[in-house]
């Protein structure tokens, strides 16, 4: 105890990093399940169904498959860079999670905030710094595979990422002007109140630019020509197999999660609740929501599951029940509010991402590049100019 | 808490600058020579930031921003020139660019 309180920063940070990494890896795995289910339902089919109840154990099966697959390395490739590229992509994608606040900073243990690993006062700039380094994972992977399709795919992907990065950072500057701080917690705090105070309303153009640039930056549909099958085989990760391919896969989902977290923080109030503080009934929402989920799972266990799936869903129901009851305890209730709203909003953004994937066709590469430079960049600039003009008028008047 | 003296940073800056000079002299690839120029610019940036901390003036940081911006412009034009040279001389060896040699 004494050791912990003397080295509080170190110990608490290590524990937080371990917890966030564990939760992030689980979230990545289940994001792939979520994507497959939602896209399947959009396309009038079921998606993963057999591996565990509702296909919930599918990510586990996929992970095991990736671990046991044969690792094929092209012989003429540059070995160091070939191995470095997926590690770089995944580690950069996971590093951004250190800056994101999942809840209010006043919840502390041993004097350290619990819900954010690094509460920096230029957190937003660091986030953009780390995402701008993400281009290397793609470019180096494409080049080091020493093959036509990966090289073309890698060059196109990285050119696309670099182009849309400009619009991404510019579309966010309007929010920075309104909030007056680079710190992510500061931006959230300046949106305190109720849903009317969130920055999405004054910055609706900025938000639309941001979400478009973010989808392009993470190489997702409709901007995923460089990695689409049928166009460039699999783009920059053609020559990668088993665990290295899984790392690129995970890096893409981690980037999606990061960008969604950033969208909620900048435009949708982060961990703030949409209702005013005075409506105290909203404190019961997490517990009630989890209990409703437990009820649905119990109903499903009893009616439609058989065998192992039934057992697994029963365990899941019990977990949801315990979590729901925990959230209703008066000691835990105020602590859970921040993360609950944050995870709900991020989940809605991820649903948007997957919905767009299931619905829109993809852009051709020249259309993609001209859209980024000729439409999105001028719109972001105009948004920035208009925002600063309005703020200046507001200060004068 | 014992802070690192500013002279340590200046010595590191000098070492990096020296290594940049060595790279500039010994490398034969045009792009590698270009990169050694960037290394020298980075060493100078480190010296500026160290001095900004020492005298507690922010002008050093402003100058670092200008150095970074000018380096960006220089790299853009310089690499365009390098690509043109590579197409014309069919080689990236700086000794092959010797048409103006007497």
């Amino acid at each position: 105890m004494d050791f912990i309180s003397q080295h509080a920063v170190l110990v608490v940070s290590l524990v937080k990093i371990a917890v966030v990494l564990f939760l992030a890896m689980t979230a990545l795995a289940y994001l792939s399940w979520f994507e497959r289910k939602v896209v399947a339902h959009i396309q009038s089919r079921w998606g993963p169904y057999y591996v565990g109840a509702h296909g919930l154990l599918q990510p586990l099966a996929d992970g095991l498959k990736f671990l046991f697959k044969e690792d094929v390395t092209p012989p003429a490739s540059d070995q160091l860079v070939y191995v470095l590229a997926p590690f770089l992509a995944l580690s950069l994608a996971l590093t951004t999670l250190a800056l994101i606040p999942f809840g209010p900073p006043n919840v502390r243990v041993f004097g350290q905030p619990v819900f954010v690993i690094s509460n920096s006062n230029i957190g937003l700039l660091f986030l953009f710094a780390i995402t701008s380094m993400g281009v290397y994972g793609v470019a180096l992977a494409g080049w080091s595979s020493n093959s036509k399709y990966p090289l073309l795919g890698g060059l196109r992907s990285s050119a696309q990422m670099v182009s849309y990065e400009v619009s991404l950072t510019l579309s966010v500057v309007g929010v920075l002007l309104l909030a007056g701080s680079f710190s992510l917690n500061g931006i959230i705090e300046s949106q305190r109140g109720h849903i009317g105070h969130w920055y999405v309303w004054p910055q609706i153009i900025g938000f639309l630019c941001y979400i478009t640039a973010a989808i392009a930056e993470t190489n997702r549909v409709p901007f995923d020509l460089p990695e689409a099958e049928g166009e460039l085989v699999a783009g920059f990760h053609t020559e990668y197999s088993s665990f290295k391919f899984a790392m690129f896969f995970m890096a893409e989902y981690a980037n999606m999660i990061t960008v969604s977290c950033l969208a909620t923080i900048l435009f949708f109030g982060g961990w703030l609740a949409p209702f005013p503080e005075s409506w105290t009934w909203q404190l019961y929402l997490p517990g009630v929501g989890l209990l409703a989920l437990a009820l649905y799972c119990a109903y499903d266990t009893v009616t439609s599951m058989r065998g192992v799936a039934r057992l697994q869903l029963a365990v899941f129901t019990l977990l949801a029940l315990v979590a729901g009851i925990l959230c209703l305890l008066p000691a835990v209730m105020p602590l859970v509010q921040g993360p609950f709203w944050f995870i709900t909003k991020v989940g809605l953004f991820l649903f948007l991402y997957v919905w767009v994937r299931g619905t829109l066709p993809r852009f051709r590469y020249d259309q993609l590049m001209s859209f980024g430079w000729k439409l999105l960049l001028p719109v972001s600039l105009v948004n920035l100019l208009a925002t600063s003009f309005v703020i200046l008028l507001g200060k004068r008047g | 808490m014992n802070l690192v003296p500013v002279s340590y940073y200046l010595v590191l800056s000098a070492i990096l600058f020296g290594l940049g000079v060595i790279a500039f002299i010994f490398k034969r690839n045009i792009i590698a020579i270009f990169m050694s120029i960037e290394l020298m610019l980075n060493a100078v940036n480190l010296a500026f930031v160290a001095f900004a901390r020492q005298w507690n003036e922010l002008d050093g940081l402003v100058f670092v921003l200008f150095v970074i911006v000018v380096a960006a412009a220089e790299v853009a034009v310089g690499l365009a020139i390098v690509i043109t040279i590579a197409h014309n001389r069919r080689s990236l060896n700086v000794e092959d660019v010797n048409l103006l040699k007497f």
Binding site: D78, L80, S120, I122, F128, A129, I130, S132, M133, V135, Y136, A139, L140, G142, W143, S158 | P5, V6, S7, V11, L12, A14, L16, G18, L19, G20, V21, I22, A23, F26, K27, R28, N29, I31, S36, L39, N42, N45, L46, V49, A52, Q54, L58, D59, L61, V62, L65, I68, V70, A72, A73, E74, V75, A76, V77, L79, A80, V82, I83, N93
Partner: protein, 166 residues
């Protein structure tokens, strides 16, 4: 050995390692990666010196855009293994020791300089970004606008140079 010293020596070691790898590498792509390592190490050093905005700008612009340009050009030109020529024996036997002497002499003058040898007393507060921007837009607004024109000229120059001669 307190934490700031350990951090300084680790980052300084990484920076020097990157610079040496830049010189020693035979492939340009490895040199580019070593230079990126140097830049990231320097960004961490800027953080320890309290220049947090400059550290972020260094990673975003220098390591994240300029070096990407280098890596693109290396990939597009398919720059292979560097040739070794035999014309630089004099450079190797006379030049290298002289360069090392130059380096050590500059380092020694910095070390012996009376003003910079003292440790900085007081709290290591970060330079506030707000003050930096005030300085940039009030006192240095003319160089700021001049650099924006410079970037415009650089874009035009790169466009003209990269256009294929039809």
């Amino acid at each position: 050995m307190s934490l700031p010293f350990i951090l300084f020596f680790v980052c300084a070691g990484l920076a020097i390692l990157g610079a040496v790898l830049l010189i020693v590498s035979r492939e340009p792509i490895h040199s580019a990666l070593s230079l990126i390592l140097v830049m990231v190490a320097l960004a961490i050093l800027y953080l320890t010196l309290g220049a947090e905005f400059i550290a972020a700008v260094q990673v975003i612009v220098y390591a994240g855009a300029i070096m990407v340009l280098f890596v693109f050009v290396i990939m597009l030109l398919n720059a292979g293994v560097e040739e070794r020529t035999n014309w630089s024996q004099m450079a190797k036997y006379a030049g290298l020791p002289l360069a090392v002497v130059l380096l050590l002499e500059i380092a020694q003058w910095f070390w012996r300089s009376p003003t910079s040898a003292r440790a900085v007393n007081g709290t290591p507060e970060a330079h506030p970004t707000h003050a930096l921007s005030v300085l940039l837009f009030r006192q240095y607004v003319f160089p700021f606008e001049a650099t924006s024109i410079l970037i415009l000229i650089a874009i035009l120059g790169a466009l003209v140079l990269a256009k294929r001669q039809e």
